[in-house]
Assembly symmetry: C2
Homo-oligomer: 309 residues x 2
């Protein structure tokens, strides 16, 4: 029995989160989710990373598409297109219900933490997951074409523009969601899931007070870069454009003194013992549910080893 | 070749409007639609009577349900229900697209007339239809249970509360939509479709300047009451609760000096010649498309007869 905190972004992070949810009881883990990806679209507040984790934990994720909700239909989007509406962000009929309900509850004065908890309850999710903050933070991708709202960069423009940096608009007014601070008062360790360091994990770490609180705890991260490429998403492309090596070593160095340990994939076994901090080597590419559970166990054992050193 | 204006509310009115659209060329008729039924729901501006006419003229109305859009699916609503959302107003997946697109365009500063025209263009509707006003007007049903927003009375509470009167909130600031005033400068006659006089037609007539403008023109109405009952909706129930006879004669008297002629169903043939204004007797119950076309022809011929007297 322990109390862990896991930081997660989109699809890759949610895979390990699901593994952790299989290994840990609901009272043993708090998932903290990036909200820098959130945006306002068609009058709705959309929280892609929260939604990915929600659908993953509720066993409602769309395995064919790799994003969105299972058993989805697209009649809304098809009709919106016929009416001349904006359809670059693909909203399924079922998925839409979550965005509309969330937007309504926020308008009624509920916090994002409260709405997220309500959603979890309605979908039968026993584990707790919270947004990094109840204040809106919006990741801006600086590119050679100018600044782009994250979803415009990521979905509309398919990560084509060349990245020069990132900004988290609103971060100065953000505070960690209340459950996070409470949880950190009695926490055995932190797992940074294999999400994009720049746009999934950095927004979480940039919330004022977050990094300072985490520095007091054992923290391990799972590399999202394996053998020089990203398992999913634009991490490696971003690193190339930022003129840093697209390597697991670079990711560890990016997190700096926050990390007490780093989990490498077998493909990067050569880095073991070379990063200036404890590492373990394992199969970090998660194809099956068992892979997710195995990686969760490795990460938890690693944290416990680090504590007893 | 003439220029006519037709006032319409929900399903009954839209039937005659469809008949008129088959008989008249797009440049010969302007449909003016009640917006007192409009309401804000789930963050969306919903205009039920505009939508009914839209779907009717686009041949997209749901003939099985008698309301809403054809070829509809309900995955949004089912999911919203599972999330604890408000589902008393049944929004289909395709129908939802119209509400979201309209709400977006209004937020962007478009007028309701502009959005309505855009919708018509996208759906290939050649005839022109406009809201009675671009300013929001909201019908409030006064009942023995207190005041109710129209859709709360009509849909949520299924017309159960006892009606004591009506109020059109915002009517004092409303002006007829620009196209109406322009059209009325050169108009041969007005047809009031068989819609509820209290909550479909009265809001239109109550827009400041509307009744005065219509008084200068030949106006005929089709009775929505046939043989003492309403073909559809709560008209007869309302009349009973307002303690007036639920008769076609009472409807004619309700419109008063606005009317130059009144169209009775065969079931009310006994009233012919007894109402103190010209009447014609015809089959006003519209079951088939041909019924709609036939009634449209009767109404237009009646208007032309009244002009040549």
């Amino acid at each position: 029995m322990g109390r862990y905190l896991a930081i997660t972004g989109g699809v890759g992070g949610a895979k390990l989160a699901l593994g952790l949810a299989h290994v840990l009881a609901p009272e043993e883990v708090l998932f903290v989710v990036n909200t820098g990806d959130d945006f306002e679209h068609l009058g709705l507040t959309i929280c892609p990373d929260l939604d990915t984790l929600t659908y993953t934990l509720a066993d409602l994720s769309n395995k064919e598409l790799g994003w969105g909700r299972a058993d989805e239909s697209w009649n809304f989007l098809g009709t919106l297109s016929a009416l001349g509406g904006e359809v670059w962000f693909r909203l399924g009929d079922r998925d839409l219900a979550l965005h509309i309900q969330r937007t309504q509850r926020l308008k009624q004065g509920a916090t994002l933490s409260e709405v997220t908890a309500e959603t979890g309850t309605h979908l039968g999710i026993l584990h707790r997951f919270v947004p990094m903050s109840d204040s809106p933070v919006r990741t801006v991708v600086e590119t050679t074409d100018g600044p782009l709202a994250f979803q415009h960069y990521f979905v509309r423009d398919r990560c084509a523009p060349r990245v020069t940096g990132f900004r988290f608009a609103g971060i100065e007014h953000a505070r960690p969601a209340p459950a996070i601070l409470e949880w950190l008062r009695d926490c055995d360790g932190v797992i940074i899931c294999p999400s994009n360091p720049f746009v999934s994990v950095d927004p979480v770490l940039a919330v004022p007070g977050m990094r300072e609180a985490l520095l007091k705890l054992p923290v391990v991260a799972v590399s999202p870069i394996v053998g020089g490429t990203a398992i999913k998403g634009p991490t490696a492309k971003m690193m190339a454009e930022l003129k840093v090596p697209a390597t697991a070593a670079q990711v560890a160095s990016h997190y700096g003194d926050l990390l007490d340990g780093f989990i490498l994939d077998q493909a990067d076994a050569a880095l073991h013992g070379c990063l200036g901090l404890p590492t373990v080597v394992t199969q970090s590419v998660m194809l099956t549910l068992q892979d997710r559970i195995d990686l969760a166990r490795v990460a938890l054992r690693f944290l416990d080893d680090l504590k007893s050193r």
